[in-house]
């Protein structure tokens, strides 16, 4: 096997230093090395969005990013959304609106929604549907997911 390369990154606000194999993806490293299993593995071709995390403010499919590429970057995963044990407004809205069914796609949906609201705090229905189109939900709870994002955006006004 190939040599490993040292990288440093911030994950959910915490500095991490580790050595990674160049051919390991960010998803591999999150799940296998950092035991952050919130990001899920499904299609591995950037179609399903189950592995979505935020790198330097933008969502990526972590299955299509090599871990070495995020050296020096700041990564947020679903585990980083709740603060001090309390859910983020978006997480709370997902819970309240019943957006999670089997739940497998939900971490990815949350990350896409979180990034969307960061750049577009008052999205329209179309904005949300388009912003989350890269996150497949086979339970097809799309209406509840979209409702939750819109509700969280509304709540942010109050």
């Amino acid at each position: 096997m190939s040599d490993t390369i040292p990288i440093q990154l911030t994950v959910n606000g915490r500095q991490r230093s580790l050595r990674v194999a160049p051919h390991h993806t960010l998803l591999d490293v999150l799940r296998d090395d950092l035991d952050l299993t919130g990001a899920k593995e499904c299609c591995l071709v950037g179609e399903c969005g189950a592995c979505t995390v935020i790198v330097d403010g933008r969502t990526v499919d972590s299955c299509l990013v090599l871990a070495v590429e995020v050296d020096g970057a700041s990564v947020t995963t679903v585990e980083g959304l709740a603060r001090d044990g309390s859910l983020s407004p978006l997480q709370q809205a997902f819970l309240d609106r019943g957006a999670a069914q089997c739940g497998y796609c939900i971490p990815g949906q949350l990350m896409s929604a979180h990034a969307l609201l960061e750049t577009n705090p008052h999205p329209s229905l179309d904005d949300v549907q388009e912003g989350l189109a890269g996150n497949l939900c086979r339970c097809a709870g799309y209406q509840q997911i979209v409702d939750a994002v819109l509700a969280a955006a509304d709540g942010a006004d109050r």
């Binding site: 096997m1 190939s2 040599d3 390369i5 194999a21 160049p22 051919h23 390991h24 993806t25 591995l44 071709v45 950037g46 179609e47 969005g49 979505t52 933008r58 969502t59 990526v60 499919d61 299955c63 299509l64 990013v65 090599l66 070495v68 590429e69 896409s112 990034a115 969307l116 388009e130 912003g131 189109a133 890269g134 996150n135």
Partner: protein, 286 residues
């Protein structure tokens, strides 16, 4: 995924040297949205992957200089689609960039990567052809400028030399007013690979440039200088005749599972007319 070595050059010279040293054993990494899929499925097994994202000269940037807009090699679709200058002068490129993949993909995928893959379905290609883009290739002998129409050869092949890389894509700022539109055909409304991708641009001198992809080994550019397409007084028949000739370059594969050749050709006609109408509206609307 097969193991490989990873290089992260900081300068263009360093990147070109690495490319020279490793030759066919190396693959360049920009956004990775195609490369990593192919590394994982084993269709590519390079010994070295050279990441261009830390190359100082290639940092994400969209610059206006010397009468052109220069889009650096690591600029991503999200930024291209949102850039006010791209939207003002090259709206069809902004539209193409905005429909590639999902948000997550557009946050990584680069314009340079899109053209270097030379996929016949590359969504940005028709717009680049219509706008007369120029590819800035950097190699050991310095840089050279390749008109985009001379860049594409066939699926997966470009005129880029093995020791060269794309440093930027330049778009000449239009001297005339242009109305343009990008349209595409997919199997669903959510993100999908296009079975037809097409851009039409009409300028205020009556010249219509129409480019299309995904219907043959490489994207095709056709120009109507007769003014027929741009002329609102032309009959539908006359317009259809011109469009028909423009689509003679289409040779869709009968092997594709995404759409049949006859459907693709029919969609070229349908989309060609729609894009022309949109382009004319936009030209009229300023």
């Amino acid at each position: 995924m097969h193991p490989f070595a990873y290089e992260r050059p900081g300068s263009l010279a360093e990147a070109i040297a690495l490319l020279g040293r490793h030759g066919a054993e190396a693959r360049l990494l920009a956004g990775g949205t195609d490369l990593i899929i192919r590394l994982r499925d084993g269709s590519l097994r390079p010994s070295v992957v050279i990441d261009l994202k830390r190359v100082e000269e290639l940092r994400p940037a969209i610059r206006e200089e010397d009468g052109r807009l220069s889009i650096s090699a690591t600029s991503v679709m999200t930024d291209i689609a949102a850039d006010p200058r791209v939207r003002r002068h090259f709206v069809a490129l902004a539209e193409a960039a905005a429909v590639i993949g999902s948000v997550q993909i557009r946050n990584r995928a680069t314009l340079a990567g899109n053209i270097c893959n030379a996929s016949p379905a590359a969504d940005t290609a028709p717009s680049l052809l219509v706008y007369g883009a120029v590819v800035v290739a950097a190699g050991p002998a310095g840089t050279r400028r390749i008109p985009i129409d001379e860049f594409f050869v066939r699926s997966g092949a470009t005129t880029l030399q093995r020791d060269e890389l794309v440093a930027a894509v330049e778009l000449p700022l239009p001297a005339r007013r242009i109305g343009a539109a990008h349209v595409r055909r997919t199997r669903r409304r959510g993100h999908d690979l296009a079975s037809v991708t097409l851009t039409c641009g009409v300028d205020d001198a009556g010249v219509t440039r129409l480019a299309y992809g995904s219907v043959g080994p490489r994207p095709v550019l056709e120009v109507d200088e007769s003014g027929t397409l741009a002329d609102p007084g032309s009959t539908g028949e006359a317009r259809a005749g011109v469009l028909e000739r423009m689509f003679l370059g289409a040779s869709p594969s009968p092997r594709s599972m995404r759409a049949s050749p006859e459907y693709r050709v029919a969609m070229l006609r349908a989309l060609g007319e729609r894009a022309l109408r949109m382009a004319l509206d936009r030209l009229g609307g300023g």
